[in-house]
Symmetry: C2
């Protein structure tokens, strides 16, 4: 294996502790940032059918329940022979109903901690991380890619949360809006 291939292998396969480092920090960070924030920041969206911060946290809770770890287990148990169940990106509309942001932050924290405990218990080897599963739309994906995406998915929603919140003070910043990149972000989601 040449140096570049070795570096790529490092980037795609041996970064499990790096991914877990992010995954374990997201719930306490969101808790420190969002708990008891006035509703103006957490219940308003970016107009139309977009999500509020409350919706985003509900989505993260759903991911902990039915997306990341169930898919990791499908890869480990069935490899490519069993396609992942599709993930309902709107499930939180139903699941979060009647809950407070406090409750969702608590649920996210405890579900994430339990999932990471279970993940650590798997004692994944480099060979495990190279195992492939089958995504219903993307086709073959490795366990390593799934786990990196779990962390990157946290980051994409932190990105979204900062943008939703910035939208709420768009008028209040007056002429400074030209200097604030987050106010020009259009989300990039398909």
């Amino acid at each position: 294996m040449d140096t570049k291939a070795a570096a790529n292998q490092h980037a795609t396969e041996h970064s499990l502790p790096d991914m877990v480092a992010v995954l374990s920090r997201t719930p306490p960070a969101l808790n420190a940032f969002l708990r008891d924030l006035p509703d103006v920041w957490t219940r308003r969206n970016e107009d139309g059918d977009t999500w509020s911060v409350f919706d985003v946290i509900g989505h993260l809770v759903c991911g902990e329940r039915v997306d990341w770890m169930p898919r990791a287990k499908i890869i480990l148990q069935f490899g490519e022979t069993r396609v992942f169940d599709p993930f309902d990106r709107l499930a939180q509309r139903r699941e979060s109903e009647g809950k407070s942001l406090h409750q969702l932050l608590d649920e996210f924290g405890s579900l994430r901690a339990a999932n990471l405990d279970e993940l650590r218990g798997f004692n994944l080897t480099p060979e495990d991380l190279r195992r492939r599963g089958r995504h219903p739309a993307l086709g073959a994906v490795t366990l390593s890619q799934l786990l990196a995406t779990w962390a990157a998915h946290d980051l994409t929603h932190l990105h979204q949360i900062s943008r939703i919140m910035a939208h709420q003070c768009r008028a209040a910043v007056g002429p400074w809006s030209d200097y604030l990149g987050v106010l020009r972000c259009e989300g990039h989601s398909s």
Copy 2:
């Protein structure tokens, strides 16, 4: 005053507690997210001359020292008769030299807390918040706009931090990169 004007006044002038709610939470949130993260997340940038997470925290520290509160005091003392001192967006290259991320996070937390204590001590009235100062490039701005921009500036850098970190796992997520909006964000800063 008609209803719309009243709503606008609310959005631009009476939201000081909302702004302080964000400003007070940013340091503990960044601390929970970034402290002791592996360097792969905090010391790498988005290629070329872009900033690392370490650079961003250094920039936030500089803002606490020489930007936000000094400008608020200029408005309160001199109104539009004294133009703000320009803010050096690259000062952290010098100021952060030899420091650890721990140190920068600690400095950011203690400077922000002291600044917010001082701000609360001003007991700002709606009339104070309408006072105008003069920005070297943007012209007339109000104290209220300055304080909202302080909070929105935190949000723009949270947005940037999530994007810098996501960039580090661009290769590791494999085909999922198409689904992660943060990986398509180009920053929007001028």
